[in-house]
Subunit: 319 residues, 2 copies
């Protein structure tokens, strides 16, 4: 199959073609020259408003995301506009290098929407992208923006550095916890505090709700916040609390716009640029490691006539 040019695909995607949109996202995941062309076009358009949903596995993120999709299409809007005509959803599991496991499960759970033409759901994987998922996700979000999506949800499994990284691509980040998760939260406090704009205690009908709320509140009291993350109790399976969650998202967006939204956008772009710079430099290390000079320096190291710092400096000077 001859790949169509990104420009043409973007036109088709804007016209509603999901096939074209899927192809563009594959370009983004695959890296290389076509990715660069795709991204260059995508960055000309406005970014969608991005809501990140993150937290440890098993917390009910997918069911909650499900609810948010229905809600935003039915009655969700910003600034009194009409409800969203379409919602894009990216599912990310950095711990699983293949599409499967949790992500497959998410897909099944979200299958109510799979045949809904207003919903576009995609499991993200990296198939050679220079910077892995933490770069592919912002790229993919831009592609959604260029395909006229005004709202995108990103569901990320886990609470490690990679997840924090991906969550930082969102405008509003929702961290999903469960009653009785005191210890699990404890272990990842710093990371969660850093990214959470809203805390959700899902499965709020289970025992331990009060303790988890108290733990979160104590955690929040330790920091100073221009925006103090609210704690929303939900039961995603019944839908209880999900309207309040959406209200909190709208409120957080208003807070961002009230403050200096340009500063927020600039900070985000700065993180993206730094990530790209790092990725490019990393690939340069790989490139250097396959050169002739590299072997010569390694020989010198073995012979004890140089050390790694002087060897590295020489390699960088030559490159």
């Amino acid at each position: 199959m001859i790949p169509r040019e990104p420009l043409e695909l973007f036109e088709l995607a804007r016209g509603g073609s999901r096939t074209a949109l899927a192809r563009l996202l594959t370009y983004v995941e695959s890296g290389g020259a076509t990715q660069l062309d795709t991204v260059a076009l995508a960055y000309e358009a406005r970014s969608p408003y991005v809501v990140g949903v993150t937290g440890p596995p098993g917390g009910g993120k997918s069911t909650l995301t499900d609810r948010l999709i229905t809600l935003t299409l039915d009655c969700g809007s910003f600034d009194g506009d009409d409800p969203f005509d379409q919602v894009g959803v990216l599912c990310v599991d950095p711990s699983s290098p293949f599409t499967g496991g949790a992500i497959l499960g998410d897909r099944i759970r979200m299958q109510d929407h799979a045949t809904n033409e207003h919903v576009f759901i995609r499991s993200m994987a990296t198939r050679g992208h220079l910077g892995g998922l933490s770069l592919a996700v912002p790229d993919a979000l831009r592609v959604l923006g260029a395909a006229n999506f005004r709202l995108a949800l990103v569901e990320t499994v886990g609470v490690g550095q990679m997840e924090v990284d991906i969550a930082s691509a969102a405008d509003t980040t929702v961290v999903v916890t469960n009653p009785g998760w005191g210890d699990a939260m404890q272990a990842s406090k710093a990371g969660l505090l850093e990214v959470a704009d809203i805390f959700v205690i899902n499965k709020a009908d289970r025992p331990g709700l009060r303790e988890t709320r108290r733990d979160l509140e104590q955690m929040l009291e330790l920091g100073e916040h221009a925006w103090r993350p609210p704690i929303i109790e939900t039961t995603a399976t019944s839908g209880a609390g999900t309207a309040e969650l959406w209200d909190a998202i709208v409120e957080h967006r208003a807070h961002l716009l009230e403050g200096n939204y340009e500063v927020h956008r600039r900070a985000r772009l700065r993180r993206e640029l730094d990530k790209v710079l790092s990725a490019m430099l990393r690939s340069k290390v790989t490139e250097l490691a396959h050169g002739v000079s590299y072997d010569a320096q390694l020989d010198a190291l073995l012979a004890g006539t140089t050390d790694p710092y002087h060897a590295a400096e020489k390699l960088l000077a030559e490159s």
Copy 2:
């Protein structure tokens, strides 16, 4: 105090001055020009034989290290030589940015040796080293080598990527587990399998020994090994099994020498060189991020006239 030149300090260190040796290690930790001079000199000398002792906190690594120190000074030798005249010990806790906590505990537990002139114990910290502990530790080991240490022990707390990284600086890596640690091991299987040359089940007098041994054996059966890590049972508090541990270390070293030791050394130096290259390139990103062009590219990103990849390429081309 005026810092003495590394060359002079190395002469003093080789003559037995612990003060000079400590100063050199501080140079290494501190980074900068003096570190570069120190390391350049250190790499001219032979590396000591390095035994890494790693594993989750609370497993008894320090007591075991203690035992190894006594044993190697009393009767430990390679190739039928005399027992070692001195042993160097580096204590590393990557999770703790300050000297304290576990490391302080280790020091106290090792205090029997603190006044022994044949033992040199040092808690490693980074005070500005370019590449953090994973670079400072190999540098420090080289400094010990240049100060005529033929044997060095590196005790590392934890089982994360950083610990794996530090452990890879050892010739023989001993992974310390305890009876009943099935689940904890499970979580870090991949990392442990990658680095372990010898498994120790310490506190072998406790319940659960058989299960842990079975778990480890099952784990080992999954991989193919030119060297199959032996599983040694020890009770470090009584000393039981520590002689067997030392024998296993001697055996692993013989295996390395039998095979192509140059290949092993080359692989290690390659990892060190790659780490230094990465660290230097990372610092270049920081440098770029403080330049005038960087702000111009960020403005272009905000305006939608460029994307992060083309912006990064421009910055790299200009640098």
